[in-house]
């Protein structure tokens, strides 16, 4: 477990040194988006990688957070912090309410049910145009709390970098706790873990709600950061993007989540200059990485250099 701590320290050092290497606000923006994605992917990886439950509707929870922040602050005059908390609680409650029936399903059926949930959320956002601005989206006021206002890519960098560090640390601790061990047990075999006294349903529901909570908070922050939300953020394609980050980075790997988010956020920017072919190049890179690194980047490479897990 010392290795995990070393990883955390390395990440902290990189985050501290990075601002010196970033030439302008655009690069800060890319790094900020990486951090935003990384935090959601960490939460999603707890659910998918560690507990072995798939979710194809995670962008829906992200969208709940984003729109809670947009709608409650704009139309009802809430403070951004209160809206953020309200969104996160709403997302977690929705997850709690919907999880017991959903988690009676497994495999493809579970995938279908979560897919449906995500789509329902995005349809609601799209159609409640009086509040959400419909498909064109709506602006979001900047994040202000306790008399401070976070503005500009550089200030956001420190907020998001801090949150990312905290999330990584929290995930590592969670996985090493009895709770985390129970999760991994039910991933291995639900029957076996039930036999040794793990309340399977309770653990699945809790981790689902927790990752929804994570996603909603990041959704709120990202809405304030970008300053504008559209229903795209809650849509199926965004769910798939997040899922791809989990899989490319490495399932059940904390740093895999971070690396996956970093790579898949940077790739479209790096490919943007080869106009017309960016989607093709993106697809080829994904296919090749899945063929040669089937367990994901971090776990496969770690096994190669003999670190194991």
């Amino acid at each position: 477990m010392r290795r995990a701590r070393i990883g955390l320290l390395v990440l902290a050092a990189i985050l501290l040194a990075l601002p010196l290497a970033l030439p302008n606000a655009f690069y800060f923006d890319v790094v900020n988006r990486m951090a935003i994605n990384a935090i959601v992917v960490l939460g999603l990886n707890l659910l998918i990688g560690f507990a072995g439950q798939i979710s194809l509707g995670h962008a829906g929870f992200f969208g709940i957070g984003a729109y809670a922040s947009a709608v409650l602050t704009t139309h009802f005059g809430w403070s951004p912090l209160a809206a953020l908390v309200a969104g996160a609680v709403a997302a977690a409650l929705l997850a709690l309410a919907i999880a017991p029936p959903i988690f009676r399903l497994r495999g493809h059926y579970l995938a279908m049910a979560t897919l449906g949930l995500g789509i329902v959320i995005s349809i609601v956002i799209r159609n409640e145009a009086t509040y959400t601005g419909g498909p064109d989206g709506m602006p979001v006021p900047p994040l202000a709390a306790f008399g401070f206002e976070i503005g500009g890519e550089r200030e956001w960098y420190w907020v998001l970098a801090g949150l990312l560090l905290f999330s990584v640390w929290a995930c590592q601790n969670l996985i090493d706790s009895p709770f985390g061990r129970a999760l991994r047990a039910l991933h291995g075999s639900e029957v076996a873990s039930q036999v040794v006294g793990v309340d399977v349903t309770r653990y699945k529901v809790t981790i689902f709600a927790l990752s929804a909570f994570f996603a909603s908070i990041v959704g709120s922050l990202s809405a304030h950061y970008v300053g504008f939300v559209t229903p795209n953020c809650a849509e199926f394609f965004h769910s798939v993007e997040l899922l791809t980050m989990v899989i490319v980075g490495g399932m059940a790997s904390v740093f895999g989540s971070v690396i996956g988010a970093v790579l898949l956020t940077a790739l479209p920017q790096a490919l943007a200059t080869i106009e017309g072919w960016e989607t093709v190049a993106f697809g080829v890179i994904l296919i090749v990485s899945m063929i040669f690194l089937p367990k994901g980047l971090v776990p496969t490479l770690a096994a190669k250099i003999g670190w194991g897990r």
Binding site: N24, F26, D29, G134, V226, G227, F228, T230, A272, E275
Partner: protein, 381 residues
């Protein structure tokens, strides 16, 4: 000795090449368009048009003796990506002007960064919110949905049709159109006796049309949508024997729409830019040469029909180029002021006269009322 000569020759060549290069620093035009994703049918002709005209202008010697350079990124119809790319254009590519934002969403998501940086920005999206309220650096060339609704209602009133049914698509275009139509109806004394919607992917609108037919006193039908949907409405209306006069919005103004309607578009009316009926315009119309010239250049190069959307890109670029020429430099504040002073600029979409309170510069005359007769568009006024 020979080696020295080579070095001198090489050095001279370097100087020879770099000297004019240094003098003719390119004018960087940034653009972010939705070339892929759901809005690709808008973004694709826009990008082609920009590329075509940047090439043409450079062949003619550029602007102020400097070549134009188009720096383009595709936002994949995702507003949040547009917001990221615009920072790249501003910070990294150091653009002089920005043309783009295919959708209202992506335009609005770029506004805060552009306003902060202070870069002249001409949007290609339709939404009224882009220019109302006016933002200092932001202009647009497409007609708004408000204008389309007003133009249609004007024509209805001329025919004595005041009690109408509105059928709108649940897409961004349709919903914004619905909102503007509702507001315009109240202003112009039109009563909406039915107000129905359909999904952009629906394949059958008979339920909505049956409801509308059930309203005893309905006099006309106004459909606000894009793509397939409005053509399906035409077919369903014919099938149901609905005898109401049908109006559509400007979004379906294309030859494709008549083809898709499969004979059911006869008698349908809609407002459209002059571009669509370029060849049929009277010779004294100042828009005729511009619209015909654009149509010829575009179809020759890309072997496909022109669309109003490409026309918006054509107008945006020509307004920007003319503004840079009048400003005599690429100084951002001067170019912005020059764009705002655009006066009687004839484009494919209309005649633009901008002012500090009007950053679109079009009036209702930019829309021509068209009717489908014998499978072709006919100008009716």
């Amino acid at each position: 000795m020979r080696r020295l000569q080579t070095i001198i020759a090489a050095a001279a060549m370097c100087f020879g090449l770099s000297a004019p290069g240094g003098a003719a620093e390119p004018i960087r035009i940034g653009s972010i368009l939705s070339v892929t994703g759901p809005a690709a049918f808008l973004g694709d002709p826009e990008l082609k048009t920009l590329q075509l005209y940047v090439e043409t202008i450079n062949q003619r010697g550029g602007v102020l003796g400097r070549p134009l350079q188009l720096v383009h990124y595709d936002d994949g119809s995702d507003a949040s990506k547009a917001n990221g790319f615009v920072k790249r254009l501003i910070e990294d590519d150091k653009i002089d002007v920005l043309i783009g934002g295919t959708t209202t969403g992506s335009t609005m998501s770029m506004v805060p960064a552009v306003e902060r940086a202070g870069i002249p920005f001409v949007s290609l999206a339709g939404g009224v919110v882009i220019v109302d309220p006016v933002k200092k650096w932001l202009f647009k060339t497409p007609h708004t949905d408000r204008m389309a609704a007003e133009r249609v209602f004007e024509d209805m009133k001329k025919r004595g049709l005041t009690r109408i049914a509105l059928l709108s698509e649940t897409s961004g275009f349709g919903q914004s159109g619905r909102k503007e139509s509702e507001a315009a109806a109240t202003r112009l004394g039109i009563t909406l006796v039915a107000n129905e919607t359909y999904g952009p992917k629906d394949t059958d609108m008979t339920p909505q049309l049956t409801t509308i037919r059930g309203k005893a006193d309905v006099q006309a039908l106004f459909v606000f949508g894009l793509g397939q949907g409005p053509a399906i409405v035409n077919k369903n209306a014919k099938m149901l024997g609905l005898s109401l006069p049908v109006y559509h919005a400007h979004g379906v103004a294309s030859e494709e729409f008549i083809r898709l309607s499969d004979g059911a578009a006869e008698g349908v009316r809609l407002p459209a830019a002059a571009l669509l009926v370029a060849a049929k315009l009277p010779d004294e119309d100042p828009q005729k040469p511009v619209a015909l010239g654009y149509t010829k250049a575009y179809t020759e190069r890309f072997k496909e029909d022109v669309s109003t959307f490409g026309g918006h890109a054509h107008d945006a670029l020509s307004i920007v180029v003319s503004a840079i020429e009048r400003a005599g430099s690429t100084d951002k504040a001067k170019v912005r002021d020059a764009i705002e002073q655009t006066k009687d600029h004839v484009g494919a979409g209309g005649r633009f006269t901008m002012s500090p309170t009007d950053h679109m510069g079009l009036d209702l005359s930019a829309f021509r009322m068209l009717e489908v007769r014998n499978g072709d568009w006919v100008l009716i006024d």
